[in-house]
Amino acid sequence: MYFRFAWRNLWRNPRRTGVILTAIFVGVASMIFLGAVSRGSMTGMVDNAIGDLTGHLQVRHPEYRGDPALDHRIDDPLPVLELLAEILPSTARIAPRLRVDAVVSTARKTAGVVLVGIDPGAERGSSFIAAAPLEGEYLRGDDNNGILVGSALMGTLGIRRGSKVVLMSQGADGELASMAFRIRGVYHADLAATEKRCVFVPLAAARRLLGVERAVTEVAVTLPGTTFESDLPARLARQLNGSLVDVGLTAAPWRELLPAMSAYLGMFDFFLLIWYLVVFVAMGFGIANTVLMAVFERMREFGLLRALGMRPRRIFFMVLGETLLLLVLGLAAGNLAGGAGVVLLNRTGLDLSAFARGAEMWGMTRIVWPRIALSDLLLANGTVLVLGVLTGVYPALKAAQFTPVETMRRT
């Protein structure tokens, strides 16, 4: 009954209802759409960082974090690999790496780099390198002296594919070790900083250079399909740590490996809520005004209803029902339009190439794929619905308070 009353009352003045519905519609659609774009850009940022040799979690020597040197290596990764195979879901990708600071030099130039020894097969689906656009060939595990160099570093060193470079680093014995490598491929990364910083060689070659037998510095685990909101990495890390204590190693989820980013993510939901509140306030004034107008216009009618014996409570709920219906209609249309916008934009992605250097500075991807999270939908709709109904309380109270005599006196 309330619903039919509310519905009919709403359309007594279609123009006015249409205008305020448009305000709610535009507001909600923008909440959904812009929320999805920013969540998408955060997702890209995190995926970038995780793909940049971080992984969803890593097993390392406990001291490695504060002092990432060869001294803090895992001498025999085999027990770790067995443990991981046992605990992790079967889709997980496991990549052992030997990562140390090194110096790369050509006949004319020298640059500081991070030398990453990788198992070329294991990196597939793990870090960006296996999937990165490559000029030349990817590494092979049995390659004795092959190296992948970033395109930006090639420019700095002034060399071409096929050239030889010498890598120098402090070996396990503390002495400076060096070895010649031939550039098999030049890779392109999303971030020029990565291209400048990382060079990749097969694990075996890195071990030979550094004078270690089976050692690695980290075992990185990537869990396909895990979004940044998931607590799966943290759960797995806790589970692993129980067993790793015996071998003197620790597992850390990416949120611990990237503390600055994860702190920022913690604020993301808060920023989103502020944006929702701001949009709501902008339409809230309109909602309040429109419903108030509708109430004052119908003063005599409310007086009549009261005179006929309708209780103030029912009048209150009738008017509140109108607000509620208004909100539900606006929300439905806004959600649909926002969702449609996201679907449309996801065909091409949002291309930030015009601001590539700026996006890169913050670790964002050049193309943002908007993503709607259920929690955002609930938050946006919840904010508008709850605050909207609260806004409707005042006009509804007003309507319920009119006395028949008072309303008859006024025209």
């Binding site: 448009t22 535009v26 700095t156 400076l176 702190a263 920022y264 004034f285 005004n289 930030l352 700026g358």
Partner: protein, 407 residues
């Protein structure tokens, strides 16, 4: 004048409705003033932070140095450049810098590092490293064979003030460059990449070790006003003294900073656009209702000979009153809020750690200036005027007879 009075009275025929409309408009104005100030404040901080790391606002370099920083691409007579820059109005600091890659060996560890030759007497004019010392002290003008290094680098090399570091690199002429420096201080700029790699030594020592022969790589200048940089750059590039050299400003030296500001501005204005549209529809009903409930009144006025033109003016005046009141109140409140926070700062909580990676402080100070004070209110005023055109247009279509029949 009479119309003004009439409009003013009409506006207050429904005080509650008028007030809500004014509040909506002032909310938009307040928000835009504050948000724009916040954006501009964070950009200022971002630019300052990047510039403070030793980039400066302007640099004089050899032409190819920016694309490929090679040892042999030098400014050959830096003194003349320094004198010219110092004599240029608006320049607040000038200092020379050179840089090279070298292997640094401590008693325990060996690493590749970035060696920067700085002029201890003038470096504080262009960078903040001297104020970011965490242990020991910064370089002093008569220091020789001494160095300060980044905190993370010190950890990696396992050194502390008092320890020695052996440097091995390549000189400008291709010869082997070797030297020993004593570490006198450790700095923490907050930017991990820099703190992990950088060492500062006196320019004199750098000159000896790397066989620079009095040449430097960059002459760095700081200016008092960001807005003046482009002008200064053009003036400098036009002069004769710098013939054969390149002048670069921070937008070229730090393209990431410039583009991320642009990106943020664009996304900011999209957000504001959406917000303004929502506000416009929010207030449109009030403006429209002012017409519909007074159709009869307008009919009477027309029937007794009031020209439509005057009615339109009346309606526009009424909405203008509300718009101006809203914008003025909102701007004033926004300015007050901004001024308060520009002293108190806004803590960025969890985001502070991330900001520190770009050399920024953990707090952001909104910056109220001519732009942030006016752009938002002008936009709000514009959108309300556009909104007010809708009822005004409806008035022009009223026919007295029909209007009189309305109720």
């Amino acid at each position: 004048m009479e119309d003004l009075r009439l409009a003013w009275r009409n506006v207050w025929r429904h005080p509650r409705r008028t007030l809500l409309t004014i509040l909506a408009i002032s909310f938009a104005a307040l928000l835009l003033v504050f948000m724009l100030s916040l954006q501009l404040g964070s950009y200022r901080e971002m630019i300052d932070a990047a510039v403070r790391l030793g980039t400066g606002h302007l640099q004089v370099q050899a032409p190819g140095f920016f694309a490929e920083p090679e040892m042999r691409l030098t400014v050959d007579r830096p003194d003349a450049v320094v004198i010219l820059l110092r004599a240029t109005p608006g320049v607040t600091g000038v200092s020379c810098r050179s840089q090279s890659f070298a292997l640094a060996a401590s008693a325990h560890r060996t690493r590749g590092i970035l060696v920067e030759g700085v002029d201890p007497a003038h470096e504080p004019e262009i960078s903040a490293v001297d104020r970011q010392i965490r242990a020991g002290r910064y370089l002093e003008p008569d220091d020789r064979q001494r160095a300060v290094i980044g905190g993370l680098l010190a950890d990696r090399l396992r050194v502390a003030p008092g320890d020695e570091l052996t440097l091995l690199g390549q000189g400008r002429d291709g010869s082997v460059a070797a030297g020993v420096v004593e570490i006198v201080g450790i700095f923490r700029s907050g930017v991990d990449d820099y703190d992990r790699a950088a060492l500062h030594m006196p320019l004199v020592t750098f000159d000896e070790v790397f066989a620079m022969g009095g040449r430097v790589h960059r002459v760095v200048a700081a200016v008092d006003r960001l807005g003046a940089v482009a002008e200064l750059k053009a003036a400098l590039a036009a002069g004769d003294t710098l013939a054969g050299l390149a002048v670069r400003d921070w937008t070229e030296l730090l393209p990431g900073v410039k583009q991320s500001i642009q990106l943020d501005l664009v996304s900011g204005f999209i957000t504001y656009g959406v917000l303004l549209v929502v506000v416009a529809f929010s207030i449109l009903n009030t403006f429209l209702m002012a017409i519909f409930e007074r159709t009869r009144e307008f009919g009477v006025l027309m029937a007794i000979g009031t020209p439509t033109r005057r009615l339109v003016r009346l309606v526009l005046l009424e909405s203008a009153f509300m718009s101006w009141l809203g914008v003025i109140a909102g701007t004033a409140a926004g300015a007050a809020l901004t001024v308060y926070f520009s002293h108190a700062g806004i803590g960025m909580g969890g985001a502070a750690d991330l900001l520190r990676q770009y050399g920024m402080e953990g707090r952001i100070y909104p910056w109220l200036n001519g732009i942030s004070l006016t752009v938002g209110p002008v936009l709000v005023l514009f959108i309300t005027v556009v909104t007010a055109l809708v009822p005004a247009w409806r008035v022009t279509r009223l026919r007295p007879v029909d209007a009189l029949r309305a109720h």
